[in-house]
């Protein structure tokens, strides 16, 4: 349902042959040095990471200064406190924490004399059924493929999903999220529509499926909606609503993860 604007957008780009793109120079302001927190607790055994960086000016390279020397802990609802240690500059991790479904995790970050907290509930995992590659309807002649994720949505429970798509090990730069507003209790086939990396036979494709809570879903959905900035759509961009207080850039998510890979055939 949320892909309709995208369909219309792609359609129009195909048709408006005279429309064209040009890289331009813009004088943009720079409000930088703001704290960015990205905290993720997963259900997979292994180190869990909370990354602290600051934002940089648009004209800079995509390298983000780490925020070092912060105190980072996570509590679960049973009262355990897990202390994260700085394993690399700005990267705080812990190895003996594995998230469990339906548990609430609370993150505490203390840096530069300020305390930040956020809570997230790890949803019950929904199994990633399969991934398939099929003809891309928008460019079928050139043998381009699109990737579809299949899973069974549990009935009567509110679910939110996020997907990461990798083609030959390179992440596709698109946000893919879906919820079950329109698909509750069904066998769902969700197309990962994108125009970032073209997929052809022989490519190795990996999909990571995450089950996320509602606040984190709204965070990503806001970013996804801002992606459609072409003809036929687009919302006024703004920083997505974070679940961290006091407000900073970033989010804290307790989520389940699973991956599946596929080599695309003719």
């Amino acid at each position: 349902m949320k892909t309709i604007p995208l369909y219309i957008l792609v359609f129009f780009i195909l048709l408006s042959a005279s429309s064209c793109d040009k890289v331009i120079d813009l004088k943009l302001g720079s409000e930088t040095g703001e704290l960015v927190i990205e905290g993720v607790i997963t259900n997979v055994k292994g180190p869990q990471y909370i990354k602290l960086t600051t934002n940089v000016a648009f004209s800079n390279t995509n390298t983000y200064p780490p925020v070092t020397g912060a105190q980072v802990t996570v509590n679960d609802q049973a009262g355990h406190t897990y202390t994260f240690t700085e394993s690399a500059a700005g990267v705080y991790s812990i190895s003996q924490l594995t998230g469990t479904a339906a548990s609430v995790y609370t993150m505490h970050v203390s840096t530069n004399g300020k305390n930040y907290t956020a809570s997230s509930t790890m949803p019950k995992q929904v199994g990633l059924g399969s991934i398939t590659a099929a003809k891309n309807s928008f460019d079928s002649d050139n043998n381009k493929k699109k990737i579809t994720v299949h899973y069974s949505d549990p009935k009567g429970v509110v679910n939110q999903y996020k997907f990461l798509l990798y083609v030959n090990g390179v992440q596709v730069k698109r946000v893919f999220v879906n919820n079950d507003d329109f698909t509750d209790g069904n066998y769902v086939s969700f197309d990962l529509i994108q125009d970032d990396i073209d997929i052809y036979p022989g490519d190795k494709v990996t999909v990571e499926m995450q089950c996320i809570d509602k606040a984190v879903y709204t965070y990503w959905l806001t970013l996804m909606q801002q992606d459609y900035n072409g003809p036929g759509g687009g919302v006024t961009p703004s920083d997505p609503p974070t679940n961290i207080t006091p407000q900073v850039l970033g989010y804290f998510s307790a989520q389940t993860i699973q991956t599946k890979s596929l080599t695309v055939k003719e």
């Binding site: 720079s30 990205e38 066998y187 072409g230």
Partner: protein, 774 residues
């Protein structure tokens, strides 16, 4: 309210009958050749300079003056002025036919007092467009377009290139009431905004009210675009049409009963899809992309006192990709009007109006198949009366009951689909209004148009109606039975405008008006999409309110050849709507929980210089303005520029008749770029470069400018038929007008980001159309 109107009416009538001995002259003014009634033609009396009126929408006029010997003057732009001497000792009917000017006569010096309506009328903030001019203004792909041409007037701004949406004096595009023969047109765009739903062949008269709105109009905050269809030639059958690059059109009109009734049918269809079929790419050749529309109208005059008009519009857009998805949307409207003349002073019109907008979005892929539908359907009953009260008062009053039936969204699916069936409760409601206005010629110099409109909104059951807190959580939820009132709102809307004529050529005008709006378009996209969602005022959504004051100086010079005006306005807006982050508006029962409310203000100055007659004519418009909004949730409740805030806006239109056969035209536009939000920093989350933002709309898109030219070659004169060629070049110096700017990871330099400007028409676009008439 009805009783109040009646009482006032009786009182005023009684008052008049005891006054001096007066008689009434009334009738209709029509075109000699086609019998089309002329709207807004002026009727004046040479001997009494303060007496005068103009014809209403049906070409009817009525003027009450003391007995005497008079010379009546009938004028209408583009027509020869007619003088008629009358000996006035009893009330009488005088029907007038006027001859359209031929080209040669245009340069003849006009005798006596030419039309200086723009100076003398108390109405301000109104733009009337002449269809001849609209037809000569060059447009993209040769499809002449009313909605694009009106954006060349000061104070009216286009929503963007390739978009028929428009903003009037800082209002949003859903704050314009677009009427086609009185029926509301909800989505006035074809092909996602590239063309408007109005086929110029079928259109007779276009007026847009930007301010000082007369009391007979209401229901929207910013403007009323009142479009009237042709009635059809009641003398002869004619066929006319045109063949263009992307669309063709055909119109047939003629008498039903000579001089008593006529009909008109006009249709248009695009054929881009035939070109697509020829494409070698199967995904393009399997797609559909077209629209068509049909306008039809018929009228019959039973006698001098009774006439009936029936008109309708039907349009549809179809867009789809074979076996993937399909969507279609369209408006249909129907209007039945009955004119009745109670006596030669009291004119009445009763209208029954139907309007429907719906869309269907379908996915055909087996596992994702669904069909989503939505509609808004109105049935409207209107009674409008016009009463001529002496030579100095014209009263208008009426009642209006409009029933809305809105189906916000339904999804139906197949067994194998990922999607579930979903149904959002249908909503019903009434918008009602009563109004009274008087145009009072207080003295030779002062004319006052004042009135009052009472609007009522009733939201009705059945259904479950909720209220939400600021965070969007449900506070209360109540079930209502069928027909019970869930919420009602009443608003009084005073309307006042006055003109003070310094002399025949100069006047000063001022106006104040309040407008309210009870039906709101929800769309968090920045351009027009077919999936428009309308909601009524409710427990959560309060009526939008706008108060506007305006004042202006109007001047005509060189025998009214030139018109100049300068208007200043200030507007306050209440209960404006914006959306929360991540709002999912489509097929959502709780859509009202996703809204936030704020206020707005808009102010500006509009300068307009027009040359009306001569071989060379045209206009220059300039607007300097500011439009701001204020929401608690955005920028800590500070005013921020609305997207459509455009500091400078210039348009120049020139039409030059070179010879009997050749004429040339050109338009130039310049506008400050949209107010937009650009990143002020970047960071990385989820492996993606993500941008951070500071204040809303604090940047400007690059300014836009463009020159279009056109030429018309009239065919050789021929007894039986007439033909012409229209050539146009859109964007002649191939300027790249920025449509949108996006930010992304650079495709060329790794580990950096870039800003990318997208233009829709970055090249010049030539077109040619062949028109015929016989």
């Amino acid at each position: 309210m009805a009783r109040f109107l009646l009482t006032t009416f009786i009182l005023l009538t009684t008052f008049i009958s005891y006054a001096q001995k007066k008689f009434t002259i009334s009738g209709t003014i029509k075109d000699t050749a086609t019998g089309e009634s002329l709207i807004g033609a002026a009727v004046r009396i040479q001997e009494i300079s303060s007496a005068g009126t103009s014809t209403n929408s049906y070409g009817f006029y009525s003027l009450t003056v003391p007995e005497g010997e008079y010379t009546l003057i009938f004028t209408y732009i583009g027509y020869e002025t007619q003088f008629q001497k009358i000996s006035f000792h009893k009330s009488q009917v005088l029907n007038i036919v006027l001859n359209a000017k031929t080209d040669l006569q245009e340069v003849v010096i006009r005798a006596n007092k030419p039309n200086n309506d723009n100076v003398s009328s108390p109405q301000m903030g109104v733009e009337k467009l002449n269809m001849t001019q609209i037809n000569q203004v060059p447009v993209v792909l040769g499809e002449r377009d009313i909605l694009k041409t009106i954006t060349l007037m000061p104070g009216i701004k286009t929503a963007g290139e390739g978009n028929t949406g428009f903003y009037v004096r800082g209002g949003a595009s859903d704050q314009n009431l677009i009427l086609l023969d009185e029926a509301t047109v909800y989505n006035a765009s074809h092909l996602l905004g590239f063309f408007s739903t109005f086929n110029s062949d079928a259109i007779k008269d276009v007026s847009i009210y930007k301010g000082g709105m007369p009391a007979e109009y209401g229901g929207r905050l910013s403007s009323v675009l009142d479009i009237k269809m042709n009635e059809g030639n009641n003398k002869d059958f004619t066929v006319q049409g045109g063949i263009g690059l992307i669309a063709s059109r055909l119109k047939v009109e003629g008498p039903l009963v000579k001089d008593k009734g006529s009909f008109m049918i006009s249709a248009r269809r695009t054929y881009v899809d035939f070109l697509l079929k020829a494409s070698s790419d199967t995904s393009i050749s399997g797609s559909s992309l077209y629209f068509y529309d049909v306008n039809a109208k018929a009228n019959y005059h039973f006698n001098d006192k009774n006439a009936i008009y029936i008109s309708g519009y039907f349009g549809k857009d179809v867009l789809g990709l074979k076996n993937v998805f399909g969507t279609n949307w369209g408006n249909s409207t129907g209007t039945i009007r009955f004119n009745h003349l109670f006596n030669n002073r009291l004119f009445s019109n009763t209208s029954i109006i139907y309007s429907n907008y719906n869309y269907v979005v379908q996915s055909f892929q087996s596992n994702e198949s669904f069909k989503a539908t939505s509609k808004i359907m109105d049935v409207n009953l209107k009674e409008d009366m016009q009463y001529s009260l002496g030579s100095t008062h014209t009263l208008k009053f009426g009642l209006n009951i409009l029933h809305h039936d809105i189906a916000p969204g339904d999804i139906s699916t197949t067994q194998v689909s990922s999607f579930n069936e979903k149904h959002v409760e249908q909503r019903y409601g009434y918008e009602t209004a009563a109004y009274l206005s008087d145009e009072w010629k207080a003295s030779d110099q002062l004319t006052i148009l004042y009135g009052l409109r009472l609007s009522g909104m009733f939201l009705l059951g059945p259904g479950t109606f909720k209220t939400y807190d600021a965070a969007g959580n449900t506070l209360t939820s109540n079930a209502y039975g069928s027909g019970s009132i869930v919420k009602k709102y009443f608003n009084l809307e005073p309307r006042l405008s006055a003109s003070f004529a310094i002399n025949d050529e100069n006047s000063i005008k001022a106006s104040y008006n309040r407008n309210t709006q009870n039906i709101h378009l929800l769309s968090n996209s920045t351009s027009s999409t077919p999936t428009d969602l309308y909601v009524m005022s409710s427990n959560n959504i309060k009526p939008e309110i706008a108060d506007q004051v305006a004042t202006g100086f109007f001047k005509n010079f060189k025998d009214n050849t030139y018109e100049f005006s300068a208007e200043v306005y200030y507007k306050w807006l209440q209960n404006q709507i914006d959306y929360k982050d991540g709002a999912q508006l489509m097929v959502n029962q709780d859509v009202e929980s996703l809204l936030t409310y704020g206020t707005g203000r808009a102010y500006g100055i509009e300068l307009f210089l027009k040359k009306k007659y001569g071989r060379f004519n045209g206009w220059i418009g300039y607007t300097l303005s500011r439009t701001e909004r204020k929401f608690d949730a955005i920028d800590n409740g500070k005013y921020f520029p609305a997207r459509q805030d455009r500091t400078h806006d210039v348009s120049v239109v020139g039409i030059y008749r070179f010879s009997k056969r050749w004429s040339f035209s050109g338009t130039f536009i310049y506008a400050t770029g949209n107010a937009v939000t650009y990143p002020t920093g970047k960071y990385n989350v989820g492996g993606l470069t993500t941008f951070s933002y500071s204040e809303r709309n604090s940047y400007r898109q690059p300014s836009s400018n463009r020159l279009d030219i056109g030429a018309t070659l009239e065919g050789k004169e021929h007894k039986k038929y007439h033909s012409s060629w229209t050539f146009s070049i859109y964007n002649i110096y191939a300027h790249r007008d920025p449509y949108t700017i996006t930010f992304r990871d650079s495709k060329t330099v790794p580990n950096t980001t870039e800003a990318v400007e997208t233009s829709i028409f970055a090249t010049l676009i030539p077109s040619v159309t062949w028109n015929f008439k016989f």
